[in-house]
Symmetry: C2
Subunit: 342 residues, 2 copies
Amino acid sequence: MATRLKDIAQDLGLSVVTVSKVLRDHPDIGAETRKRVLKRMKELNYHPNLAARALVTGQTWTLGLVVPDLLHPFFAEIAKVISTEIRKHGYSLLIYSSDEDPELEAQEIRQLLARRVDVIMVASAQWTLESFRQIEEQKIPYILLDRSLQGLEANFIGVDDEAVGALATEHLIEQGCRRIAHIRGPEVSTAVGRLEGYRRVLASYNMTPMPGHIVSLGSSGDSRGERGGYDAARKLLATKPRPDGIFCFNDPSAMGAMRAIIDSGLRIPEDLAVVGCGNLSFSDFLRVPLTSVDQGNEDIGKRAAALALNMARKRSPMRPRAELIAPHLVVRASSRRMAPKK
Amino acid sequence: MATRLKDIAQDLGLSVVTVSKVLRDHPDIGAETRKRVLKRMKELNYHPNLAARALVTGQTWTLGLVVPDLLHPFFAEIAKVISTEIRKHGYSLLIYSSDEDPELEAQEIRQLLARRVDVIMVASAQWTLESFRQIEEQKIPYILLDRSLQGLEANFIGVDDEAVGALATEHLIEQGCRRIAHIRGPEVSTAVGRLEGYRRVLASYNMTPMPGHIVSLGSSGDSRGERGGYDAARKLLATKPRPDGIFCFNDPSAMGAMRAIIDSGLRIPEDLAVVGCGNLSFSDFLRVPLTSVDQGNEDIGKRAAALALNMARKRSPMRPRAELIAPHLVVRASSRRMAPKK
DNA sequence: TTGAAAGCGCTACCAA
DNA sequence: TTGGTAGCGCTTTCAA
């Protein structure tokens, strides 16, 4: 059906090998021959069969990416950046969305193994290390994105989550908040780290979270956390004393929380200051523009792409390395209670 | 490196063929043999090499998707839904983000051809039909998503854009708007269709767009249209008479437009009603919750997946078919100027 | 500078 | 029920 090297070779009275060499810019080919071959390739609209090539070379020129939710702008951006960066070097990206389901994720990783991708990247919802042991067994290089796993010494690229929590909490304190609550995420490293940073800063100010002031984002399934943030904030608003500042695990949950606050007739930031994390592109357009910790989404994607390309080329495994990205705060109306200090 | 059929066959004193048959659940295999083989496969953590299989069968079990901007929630949702749907049937998805660049898109389509994916899906930023002629030449089935192309008789799945424009415009008229402006999108079928619907409804009410009341979203590069919407709205606000309603090409541009309106001290919807399109998940959380035309994102993804699976199986090409999805309006505060009629 | 032979891991076909 | 042979389209190696 599709044109093959053989067709071109026959047309031109050459051998398949010669044509193959032209295809790959092999040096020892006569200028005239090369020209003829290239011309014929163009005429026939020839595309080399990458599956066949992969079978011989062992390289698929394909990378794999598994994220928990491709619709979440954070992961969408990472996917987009990686895809764009690696394309420049001839690689393509298989993308899977695991829906935060460890079983689905494991299945997707198995797919990636069967497809012999050159590098696997995962933002994992996994509880166990089994999937990663399997990857290691096949000697396929892999990178953990955003979320690290206990007991797994692997390449990791993500934000410094403790710094995220610290930054947000410190900011709220500076804005005069004294009863700072936290809406925490699920049991993955990001949520744990942010909680840790929050606790650490409070402690350093001799403060301590009041009872009921750390509440969990329920796993509301498909949603990114808007619903969970709403519900969590309702709980917080019912506590006494009421918090005067909330650090939310991420921006969607912060959006939900802000809605709950506004619905209850309170003002942001006067009655309650809110800080999120992710600095999503629409933060500026919300009812109250949202202060958020920026985790350098694009940076994460770019570094992941660069590392992956590096690993795809190297045959010898390198020592796993963790790249922690420093977060920074973007202050907007949702937390601005003091005049900016100079 | 990785385990092969041959390894398992040797271990068990069987032929490769027999093992291969077990792998594919071929009926005529002894129960005992099957059990032994499966056991050994599990032990060795065997994954069939799909590249090798693809070479023989001509099927890659891979579908390709090209979108203009994976970070745009509309396309992110389509990508996610398709990926999720096809996985159930053993297919994986290669995703590319073309950045609205026809040249990049053409390149990505060429990649997909080289990779012999079973079906190609494209939300195209193309001006010419060349890429699609190439796809046709290779006899790879393809589906156009969201945007159709003039003169190309192809499978298409997307919203009925004229209906989108009509729905939005009619709604604004019902809300008492009399000078309805339109912020139109770039020169692709979606923008053209929505403009057409807008014009048609105005005409049916014996209205006509005032001079300067149709303004173009500039191509502000990477952005989804927030910036373009802002700039476009500024232009509209400077016209006399000023519009009292704006139908925006999509939600991001509507967000930008609303910001411009608020910045200029006008009220939404009292002074100016705004309607967007896309019904993105955060529409509810904006400064003024945004009325938007829902184009059935999930539905588009599901139908695309179903059609693609169908095409991947069939060897015989079917007649191209267009599936138009009927949009519906989601009314929120940004346009609600009248009490709901009963 | 060119090409013949071998083989990548798997499946299709047909014979035992 | 099992397996030998051939071959998918390409690259690698080595000889001409």
